[in-house]
Symmetry: C2
Amino acid sequence: MKVIEVDLGKRSYPIYIGDSILADKELIDKQITSHQVLVVTNETIAPLYLKSIVNNLAGLDYDVLVLPDGESYKSLDCFNQIISRLMEKKFNRTCMLIALGGGVIGDLTGFVAACYQRGVKFIQIPTTLLAQVDSSVGGKTAVNHPLGKNMIGAFYQPSAVLADTSVLSSLPDREFSAGLAEVIKYGLIRDREFYEWLENNIDLLIQRDNKALIYTIERSCINKAEVVAQDERESGVRATLNLGHTFGHAIETGLSYKHWLHGEAVGCGMLMAADLSMRLGLLEQEQVDRIKRLLVRAKLPIKIHKDIKLKQMLENMKVDKKSRDGILYLILLSDIGQATITADYTEQALTETINHFLE
Amino acid sequence: MKVIEVDLGKRSYPIYIGDSILADKELIDKQITSHQVLVVTNETIAPLYLKSIVNNLAGLDYDVLVLPDGESYKSLDCFNQIISRLMEKKFNRTCMLIALGGGVIGDLTGFVAACYQRGVKFIQIPTTLLAQVDSSVGGKTAVNHPLGKNMIGAFYQPSAVLADTSVLSSLPDREFSAGLAEVIKYGLIRDREFYEWLENNIDLLIQRDNKALIYTIERSCINKAEVVAQDERESGVRATLNLGHTFGHAIETGLSYKHWLHGEAVGCGMLMAADLSMRLGLLEQEQVDRIKRLLVRAKLPIKIHKDIKLKQMLENMKVDKKSRDGILYLILLSDIGQATITADYTEQALTETINHFLE
């Protein structure tokens, strides 16, 4: 088992990574530090892994809330539903929440933990690759608003993250690849060595080789933990973690969050960011091609979904959270392993990039 | 004009106190540091003071949201309504909210500011005595849940508080007295000298003498700011600010938040806390009588509302946020000017106190 510490002073916490975490009764018991526990999960995950958590809760005042599966449940309605359950159970501010699921369950449950009685403890048990390498680490919690994703939320850190690689065996191929997009991102923005390791090991990873998986999750979490420790509330360097996300969100919004997974949109978005970087003279064409090859091997899309038009892309990009006083800052690449935040690009270059990726 | 700094490192902010703050265009202009501004207020306050704020917003992309007046609008529904307005206006994370009103508007708007895009700036312009001396300072934001008050919220600091004493002239007498309860509280828990000043000046204060008002608000804010600077997230000493609140909340819940104002319930609750302190040998009977005399002069109730029964009081007290693992901690007094947090009391003494205050 690997342990990574996210260093945030009083809000520091460990990430445990291994292939039998959920079976490690002693480890789980040690994390549960309250007599009042609510497990939040969804209908897909509950039949698979809920039992191994509940087994650890005997003797406690606990309850389980099982939501339907899907992004549309990352809503203020479900937030209120969880809060109501906590109130009905008369749980006080020493209670603890456990988020057992992917990014939707983690973000939603984390936001409830941030707000219930102005903050209670919670544990993340991510069950997708994307959640294990990205959304469960770093304290970004949120729900969606009908007019925008993650628009209602808080920075709120969990007290521990438990990433069990064995749960990834049940993950559909497309979801696995979607998680790889965020993994590749860490290499691109700040870890060239890891990027090269990925180029050499992507086939092993696609086969879900356990050793490769543990290394991938560990290295991803180390990168994320370092960035978050430097800039918890995203006033600077943390924004680089959004490489590909402004393009990606615009695609997702254009598709009304259907057809494509978040990681797929981010994968395509990263290649678009690389392409724009090339047009601005920051990156070589050969480096863009190299990124494209890795994304293809990771089974990620490299063209924008056919339902999307240029005008729509441009408009959707403008409402991004990274827009400041009407200026849209983008995360671009000045090398493989080196990100830059800039508003120094032309509308023409941006248009050329989008056109290049339209089907 | 008096300026008090709330010392919270990066989250520090000033409280401006004076009798012509809202007319001070230069001061207000200096506080508004965004091009996108949403003013949130209510139907009672809007006709009186909205204009003087809006006059400062010419040339900016601003909007105003006027809610109905009342505690029932401190809800997740109104929270969502404000968020929706921000989304419709396409306001980004550099926008700013202005809360113009009493505690309901301040707590609700502050909670929206805490959550919109994971946190945007906001200014508190409190228009009641209670909000000026208590709720607008210290960063406690929240909305109510149908099963409990302030159950959904965040610790989130404003970027400035503007307390204009001239707006208090339009405040109904009962609301003014309710604010005095929180003022007297600061004297009781940590500022004996201020308490004695209040004993000597309460009649002047009741007449809303401007000099006495400014001194009262200043001294109250200094006390609150010192406590909050020591313990922002209420893991220790900040809990003493809740003197009388556990009793008070139980009364409010028993009355379904009708008939009595929050400050009235707190006033009666403080006397109950003093009475229980006396029964436990912490305080002299003479000191309890002295507190009672000041509350009477401040026109605050000193008996529990007649609709409330003993059993109901005991049950309502148990669901308090200060309950930890089933043990209810109470804020009591060991002297005038000296609070103590304790679970070291008997059910019998508590019952005697409640019985003593039942009509």
